[in-house]
């Protein structure tokens, strides 16, 4: 993995600045005057991406959020259009500009995968409409959580591209790097202290320190051959006994893009809304077709489908693995089923 510092020297926007930690709230409020700003805030013992502005405290020390920021681009529930007896009314409205503030590198990579999924063959107007009006203020990870393994997949803990602004916690302040014209404008609108280039050395130290903190890894070398030759490994039978088929792992996944379309009629039966909501291949009904036949009736087939899709089937489709190592599926699993452990066990480790 190349070192981020090397990249910075080649950047089009060389200006480095510093954002004092006690200036974060003011910075976010300033942005909130012009944009819808979403950032990590506390919800009970967890964190969620929520609107930031006056009153909401940004928690930039968060490890992860319950749902990925994907929810701001591909919403859990979304109205596609309304219909009535005379026709339909599209629901693609003028999208306000939004900022995802404090998004971690793994989740930025996940959005890059969704960008492909929602544009390669057929452009999804609902997703793209939000996406092109979204700015990304990313935050490099200095404290990976117990369940994180982005380092194994090259999707973290530090980000190389795909951001408008990139923050790194270098101790007394955040180092701010610019990644786009739009990011430059954000920086120019506020007064930030210019940073000396020595700040990049500090950044490198934080990076080296973060790298050492990973407790999980997923070895990608030879992964294709490994999975292709272990379709009937005894582990699938064990996972069938363990897995609750609850669907949580896929519901919290930042790269899962499946949805179900449901018509919601008014009681008059003359008007209604066509809606979509997140769906999951872990659920029994997912692969059921008309007259009741089900292509993935067995739980082991569904567990395998999830893991094979992320680690094997994505690559020919999108040119990248479908897992970014965010660890949400591990954290959310009641049965502690762990995708990194599944791969290790197949490897016979």
């Amino acid at each position: 993995m190349s070192v981020p510092v090397m990249k910075v020297t080649e950047m089009k926007w060389p200006a480095l600045s510093l954002l004092d930690k006690d200036g974060i709230a003011e910075f976010a409020e300033n942005l909130a005057e012009r944009y819808l700003v979403f950032g990590p805030v506390a919800k009970g013992s967890e964190y969620v991406f929520a609107p930031v502005g006056k009153g909401e405290v940004l928690e930039l020390n968060y490890h992860t959020t319950i749902l990925p920021p994907k929810k701001l681009l591909h919403q859990p529930f979304e109205v596609l259009f309304s219909f009535h007896e005379d026709g339909i009314q599209e629901n693609i409205v003028e999208q306000p500009k939004q900022i995802i503030f404090g998004i971690h590198p793994c989740d930025v990579h996940a959005i890059q995968i969704l960008d492909k999924a929602y544009s390669v063959e057929y452009e999804d107007p609902y997703y793209m409409n939000k996406r092109k009006n979204t700015l990304i203020i990313a935050l490099n990870c200095s404290e990976p959580a117990e369940t994180c393994f982005c380092q194994s997949l090259g999707t973290g803990p530090f980000l190389k591209d795909g951001y408008d602004l990139l923050l790194t916690d270098i101790g007394e302040a955040y180092l701010v790097e610019v990644g786009s014209e739009a990011g430059m404008e954000l920086v120019e609108a506020v007064n930030l202290r210019p940073a000396a280039r020595v700040a990049l050395v500090e950044k490198q130290k934080v990076y080296e320190n973060a790298r050492r903190k990973f407790r999980k890894r997923l070895l990608t070398q030879g992964l294709h051959e490994l999975l292709e030759s272990n379709f009937r490994h005894p582990i699938w039978e064990k996972l069938k006994e363990e897995c609750l088929a609850c669907g949580s792992c896929t519901m919290v996944c930042p790269t899962c893009f499946c949805y179900n379309v449901v018509d919601k009629l008014d009681l008059s039966l003359k008007s209604g809304k066509r809606t979509r909501e997140w769906d999951s291949c872990m659920l029994l009904e997912y692969a059921q077709v008309a007259l009741g036949h089900n292509f993935r009736k067995d739980r082991d087939a569904r567990v395998k489908q999830r893991i094979y899709h992320k680690l094997l089937y994505y690559e020919p489709q999108f040119g990248t693995l479908g897992c970014v190592g965010c660890g949400r599926c591990i954290k959310t699993c009641v049965k502690k089923i762990d995708i990194t452990d599944v791969v290790s066990r197949i490897r016979g480790e």
Binding site: E46, P76, E242, L244, C246, G247, L267, S268, L269, V334
Partner: protein, 253 residues
């Protein structure tokens, strides 16, 4: 189709499911625009004779008199619906099924010789059932979806998957993995909007088994969390212990 006639029958129950119909309040008039509540003893003085298009049966069947009323209801209604978890699976009344009938009768009634109580079953133990609206109480939204489905002649969309799905869709904090509270959500049918977990209360399993519910595996996790075997049995037998899935969960340890 013309306005369907609906009949509401009460068996062994707390009447909470039929109360949900009155709880429609602002929507009740819209509902009455779409259907005739022809037989609804709880709400109306004048009730029409059958036949009816839809019969909503609330409550478990726990005595001979209910069996004959249920069979008559089946004859009177084109579609018969198990309305709420008692009618679906026996519900709360079914918690008595693992104690002798006599002991239960004596515990509850001063003159038990007047009773003819039987094992508490859901209504499909005795008659053919066309639809199941789960929940304690049944969900108003699902009742509406069902009515709309009948009016259109299509299968209504009722969530078949786990409560976890709805918890995640609403981004609730997971009580199980974040707070160490045991929760029936992973094996229980959604459709309630994950109401209890959203209010910081673990799911009690009132809506019965979800699609492909792996109750044995969940019971083993309850055991790992330190629950006594008798607590695990109580969790699985509270609302739907008569279903094969929850029955397996209750018996695996």
């Amino acid at each position: 189709m013309s306005k369907p006639k609906i009949a509401i029958y009460k068996m062994s129950s707390c009447a909470g499911c039929q109360l949900e119909i009155l709880n429609f309040e602002p929507m009740l008039l819209d509902l009455l625009g779409a259907v005739d509540l022809s037989y609804f003893v709880m709400a109306k003085r004048e009730n029409e004779e059958g036949p009816y298009d839809i019969g909503l049966v609330e409550g478990a069947i726990t005595c001979g008199e209910e069996i004959s009323r249920l069979k008559k209801a089946r004859q009177q209604c084109r579609m018969l619906v198990a309305f709420g978890s008692c009618a679906c699976y026996g519900g709360l009344p079914s918690i008595k099924n693992w104690t002798s009938e006599r002991e239960i009768e004596e515990r509850v009634y001063p003159q038990p010789h007047l009773l003819e109580s039987t094992t508490a079953y859901g209504i499909d133990h005795y008659v053919t059932v066309d639809a199941y609206l789960k929940g304690c109480p049944a969900s108003r939204e699902e009742l509406l979806e069902f009515v709309k489905g009948v009016l259109l002649g299509i299968k209504p969309y009722l969530r078949p998957h786990s409560v976890c799905v709805e918890c995640k869709l609403h981004e609730n904090v997971c009580l199980f993995t974040s707070q160490g509270k045991v929760c029936m959500g992973p094996v229980t049918t959604a459709g309630c909007g994950a109401l209890c977990p959203a209010n910081n209360k673990p799911c009690e399993g009132c809506r019965g088994p979800a699609n492909d519910a792996n109750t044995e595996s969940l019971a083993r996790t309850f055991d790992e969390y330190g629950l006594h075997r008798s607590d695990v049995v109580r969790l699985f037998r509270k609302f739907a212990g008569m279903t094969p899935e929850f029955s397996r969960g209750a018996e695996v340890l």
